[in-house]
Symmetry: C2
Subunit: 767 residues, 2 copies
């Protein structure tokens, strides 16, 4: 805590704690008045937007305040000014402050919601956006690109904001460095709460990106301090640092499915951060290292189970003489005084080594350059259940010096060193997620410049009494690792009270329509036994469960509607249990909107019988299902099964994150059972998950022109086991991807095609 205080104090000294002197309040009620007020603004002005909805407003806040007399633009009451519709805000000039605004129910008509630049000639300097909220202000089409906050200029700040729910293409926050006026920027991104960013199902879903490969040589000096990254699951990079001298201190990464990635650029400082995972997820990562000269110190990693790219510490192999936008070798990186609690194989080296793929990749893609002159020292690794593989070496680790790292499990990893020391020791749980050792291991390695690591995680001086690990004991007071109140806008409540679902009984088709329409998200529609004839598609745009009231005499929905039975709209979460669905052979059982699938949907079928549909699921380009789950069901007499195959531009995107089909019978499906496609050579996503287990497929694939029963081209994680295939007249049941450890397990095949394993898929290069 002391440390937080002293850091805050230092920041205060460094950047000045503005106590703005405002002298002139200007109240504005509409965009015209606001525009005029901005046009006339002068140092000390306090422009106050009237409470209410400001719809379709594009604000250009251009002015020049002074350090002592900034110009302020703010809401009359914090949070009571909502910016909605096709709206955005640009800042240009100097010493401007924007505060207390709430962006929701809309999206930007340009490329940014908040942009620290008016135009090429007018960037912002010493400007601040604070105590604002941007919530689900996302583009209707996932494929459309924008950034919610785009930094230009120098010395700008985003602080105490809550920002969540971006589901379209493009990092949430982007720092731009093209042009001398934007380098050496010392921007501050501090005290924000970055709320959940849903899985995007493709690249370009970072929460923060600083620079890009084209500006990766620039000194950026962006400061990212004391933010909460809360379930930021957009892609494998939560933060993508792509410039030099960026500083990441005292942030909390909470159950975020990705890593802090030093993608381009050098000399990052990563100190005093917290990374929290859980028992379930292999997607929650730590820090991924590429390039030169980074110092990773005093960080605390808890329950991270991420593998390879998502390891707690993933040190990549580089490409020799790498192209500017690919992977430079890791050199001169220091990883010291970190603590890893209950993490699995926290240290992974040679990550991304792909020499074995030389036949399908050009030489300029082969990552064979191992880390050089890297130091791992004074780290503490503790596992309550032994982890005997603290290190995974995907290539030789001859360029890494290990010194005074202490671990409590036996090390069977094969990487041995006098600097990897096993000791029996105990940790003490102080508060939630926070473990510290009972005693200090004071014998530390003192490498070149190590004296610059002055304090521990909590700000205790290392010069007096030093110890291995992020924390020197005793720790004073009762520190709390995550106190959500410390982050985001003070007026905004991020924790909504949980809704208690209601069960609504339904007796006939008309009632079903009415109840579906008036149900709250989360409610359950319980169908009485009987046959329901549905003549119009049912629209799902919230969380709805449809079930039979009596599971022994299931309700049967007979669809006579045109083309679609259930229309899956953005945010739909449809769960159908114990129901029989019958089509007329022409409809698709489930289909998304053709466009504007703003947000992800989910579909769960359990103990469902589906009969006589065209496709079971048909989706549009740009649509994205987080989860599609089919369990204990029967699907028969359909032309096709699940079609998740519309992202065919080979840019790494795909139409669903998790596809789980278990204990289900497919009979008489004329074409493919499943077409689940991801094209392009990209590793920045989970990459799709297919579980196809314990299913029986019979008499299917007769009209399948590609002669493949189940298509999973480019999907990274595939479990294909214990299925039975009978009498399916196809050439191939499926093609699995050997390089991703895919293999068929215990499948029974009778009079069907075969399951092929291809080691290296030929992929289209994206870069």
């Amino acid at each position: 805590m002391k440390k937080l205080i002293s850091v805050a104090f230092c920041l205060c000294i460094l950047f000045g704690c503005e106590k703005p002197v405002t002298t002139n309040s200007i109240n504005v009620n509409d965009i015209a008045a606001l525009t005029q007020a901005i046009k006339d603004c002068k140092p000390g002005d306090d422009i106050i937007m009237a409470n209410g909805i400001w719809k379709d407003v594009q604000i250009e806040f251009l002015g020049n305040g002074t350090k002592d007399k900034p110009i302020i633009l703010r809401a009359e009451t914090p949070g009571k000014v909502t910016i909605e519709g096709a709206s955005n805000l640009k800042l240009g000039g100097s010493y401007l402050i924007v505060k207390n605004l709430y962006f929701k129910n809309g999206h930007t008509p340009t490329k940014n919601v908040i942009q620290f630049k008016i135009d090429e000639k007018t960037v912002a300097m010493h400007c601040k956006v604070t105590n604002c909220v941007i919530e689900e202000f996302t583009q209707p089409n996932r494929d459309d690109t924008d950034h919610w906050v785009e930094f230009w200029g120098r010395h700008n700040e985003l602080s105490n904001c809550y920002i969540a729910g971006k589901s379209n293409f493009g990092p949430t926050i982007r720092v731009r460095l093209d042009g001398n006026e934007n380098v050496k920027n010392y921007h501050k991104i501090i005290n924000n709460h970055f709320g959940p960013r849903p899985r995007k199902g493709g690249p370009h879903g970072e929460t923060l990106q600083i620079g890009d490969s084209g500006t990766s040589m620039t000194p950026s000096h962006t400061i990212v301090h004391n933010n909460l990254f809360d379930r930021c699951n957009g892609e494998v990079e939560i933060i993508s640092s792509k410039s030099n001298f960026n500083v990441f201190t005292s942030n909390v990464f909470f159950e975020s499915e990705g890593s802090l990635v030093l993608r381009h650029g050098n000399y990052a400082k990563i100190d005093g951060n917290v990374f929290i995972g859980n028992d379930n997820s292999e997607f929650i990562g730590g820090i991924r290292v590429i390039n030169t000269g980074h110092w990773i110190t005093n960080n605390y990693f808890y329950k991270l189970k991420g593998l390879t790219f998502r390891a707690p510490l993933a040190v990549m192999n580089g490409i020799p003489k790498s192209p500017l936008n690919r992977y430079n070798q890791v050199t001169d990186v220091v990883v010291a005084y970190n603590t890893y609690i209950d993490c699995i194989s926290p240290f992974q080296f040679g990550v991304g080594s792909n020499v074995s793929q030389s036949e399908v990749l050009p030489k300029s893609e082969i990552r064979s350059a191992r880390a050089e002159r890297m130091i791992l020292a004074n780290n503490l690794i503790y596992n309550q259940n032994p982890d005997n593989y603290p290190i995974v070496a995907h290539d030789s680790v001859d360029g890494v010096l290990f010194e005074k790292n202490i671990l409590n499990s036996e090390n069977k990893s094969g990487v041995t060193s006098g600097g990897l020391i096993r000791k029996d020791f105990k940790m003490k749980k102080l508060t939630d997620n926070l473990f510290v050792p009972i005693e200090n291991f004071e014998d530390v390695y003192r490498g070149f410049d190590f004296e610059t690591i002055k304090t521990d995680f909590f700000g205790t001086e290392r010069s007096k009494q030093n110890a291995v690990g992020a924390m020197i004991v005793p720790v004073k007071n009762r520190p709390v690792l995550i106190d959500k109140k410390k982050y985001g806008a003070d007026w905004f409540e991020t924790e909504k009270e949980a809704y208690k679902p209601q069960t609504l009984q339904v007796s006939n088709a008309d009632e079903l329509k009415v109840q579906l329409s008036k149900a709250n998200s989360g409610d359950i529609l319980a169908l009485k036994s009987g046959v329901y004839t549905i003549d119009k598609k049912l629209i799902i745009n919230k969380n709805i469960t449809i079930t039979s009231l009596d599971i022994n005499t299931k309700a049967e929905l007979q669809f006579t509607s045109d083309s679609i039975a259930f229309e899956m709209q953005p945010k739909a979460r449809l769960q159908i249990n114990e129901v029989i669905l019958k089509g007329n052979g022409n409809q698709d059982a489930f289909a998304t909107l053709d466009k504007n699938m703003t947000k992800a949907y989910d579909l769960f079928l359990e103990n469902v019988e589906l009969d006589n549909f065209n496709s079971v699921l048909r989706v549009s380009k740009g649509s994205f299902a987080d989860t599609i789950s089919v369990v204990n069901s029967v699907i028969k007499n359909c032309n096709r099964g699940f079609l998740l195959n519309k992202e065919i531009n080979d840019g790494g995107d795909y139409n669903a994150e998790f596809v789980i089909i278990k204990n289900t019978e497919f009979t008489d499906i004329k074409e493919t059972i499943l077409d689940y496609y991801r094209g392009g050579y990209d590793e920045s996503t989970i990459g799709g998950n297919l579980v196809f287990q314990n299913n029986t497929v019979t008499n299917s694939g007769k009209l399948e022109s590609d002669q493949i029963l189940i298509k999973n081209r480019g999907i990274v994680n595939v479990d294909f086991s214990n299925n039975t295939f009978k009498n399916n007249p196809v050439k191939l049941i499926a093609v699995l991807w050997g390089e991703k450890d895919q293999k068929p397990v215990d499948n029974t095949i009778e009079n069907s095609g075969k399951i092929e394993v291809v080691q290296n898929l030929k992929l289209k290069l994206m870069y």
Copy 2:
């Protein structure tokens, strides 16, 4: 001058003007005593090496002084301690000073003469080598690599040294950045005189290289200030800056055949330097720009005639997403307040554009990325004779902003802009090479951060009265651009008095041997008429002219020696005028040593008749002729002509810089007339020069297996004109290289092969 003083003052403040307090003098007479003294040394020690020759000594100066009490190692009398033979010096520790030593008559047995590192664990910090000389301390074999001074560690200094005459492979001075202890080094290279470095005939002949591509991302902060680069002709890069934030201020580049090249790395500062060319040389360059964020200000360019790569300002095209060791795009570079006097086409853009060579080069070698966001402003261009092409655009210059540049010639370059302003104005000559305008052009462009360009070339404040160009007038006092006394070691005289050649008469073969042996370099041997039978090879290891006393009855040398007539040794300069040379058909007329051709040689033949030799000239790998010139001569009845074809490893090296053959008759040469070879794709050299003019070649090439009469593979500059070829039974007379503007002009061909022009040679990639 004011500026120099204030810069000196600032450096003093920044780095501290040590006034070392020494307390303990230790006199040492030999290496054993020296080694012991070093072993025992403590702060304040003053170790004094006795005057004399210290031969074959490897000194490891390891110690730790303090800022106030450094440890000194010095000569008893400045310059009277010579370090000779296989010797070197390593420094490690801190606050060490070495001074007044003289390295000559030898070479290092390791890779460095002076190395700021003892071993991997012991680098030097705050150490200084000052007032020393390294003169021709060059490796016997040109192909062996070394560096004369290699910087490691931080805060080290090379000052007031004279360093000249390196002719082997490797930069003279090298700053190494591999490892965190070597970055942010703030080394100072100041007040040195870098004397002549001869043409090397291949790459790796830089005078100073800071970093390399593999460390090009590091912050180096090396300071190169107030040095004289005096005819540093090693290769196209006098200085190769390959790291970030290097500073080049107030240096003089005098008639040096190369450029200050920003090869890798970014954000260099190049301010207040002087570049002096002459009327004759197209090889003397200015500044070549690659990468990002450099500021080039207040520099003065005089009489630079360099073309493309060697232009006064050469702005290169980059390779899109360049590999680490190739060419990044130029972005965000500022070139402001420079003055160009009597330079030809000073601004060249798109240099290195090679889209037209796509058929012979891989995509990763194609330089198509033009400069972006570059600013050229407030520059002054003056030509006494109009230069109507101030700009050469090898590609579009759409990414360059021109503002307030003033020139006195009409601009017919095709690149027009309101920022290229023609004015009639006059300049005034103040002192040698120094011209300033009569009046100030005060209307300057004020770009982003331009206020950081605080002073002009002479230190006059720009905030008070500003002007276009490097110098604001009036200039106080009478400034001198180049005062050689300001640079180098104070005890060392770089200007030797010119030797007045003697003419020694020779009557017979014995006398010839004797006189040749005792002649001083520069002397003339005048042969009386008659026939001289020479039974042993004549050794040439100095500057000798052999001529007939009476040109109407020429002396005739008949060689009966084994295998060689004249042996060309290092530093040979042989001029033969008006003499008949006859062989026995077995000797080579001229041949180099087989190895250890330490230094270049020259050969001039004028009005010479050569008859009945094996080869006219045979050379060894590693040998290098600066000039081979044959004029008005007759060469007949030989097996071969000139063989300059031993550098065949395709590393860009070659065996002669200039080959000039004019007005000469070749008759009955059985194989090739000339084989002059340079292999490998490299642009860092002059690239070889062939002038083959007004010659007659008859009855030659009969036994030439390649069927090519004259071979000039890979030679860059070729003039092939006005020759007559008769009855030569070959397929090709020569192959010329179209891309280098080579073409046959006015040759007469009878019953011989043809002259072919190949547009794009297929070259072996070196990188």
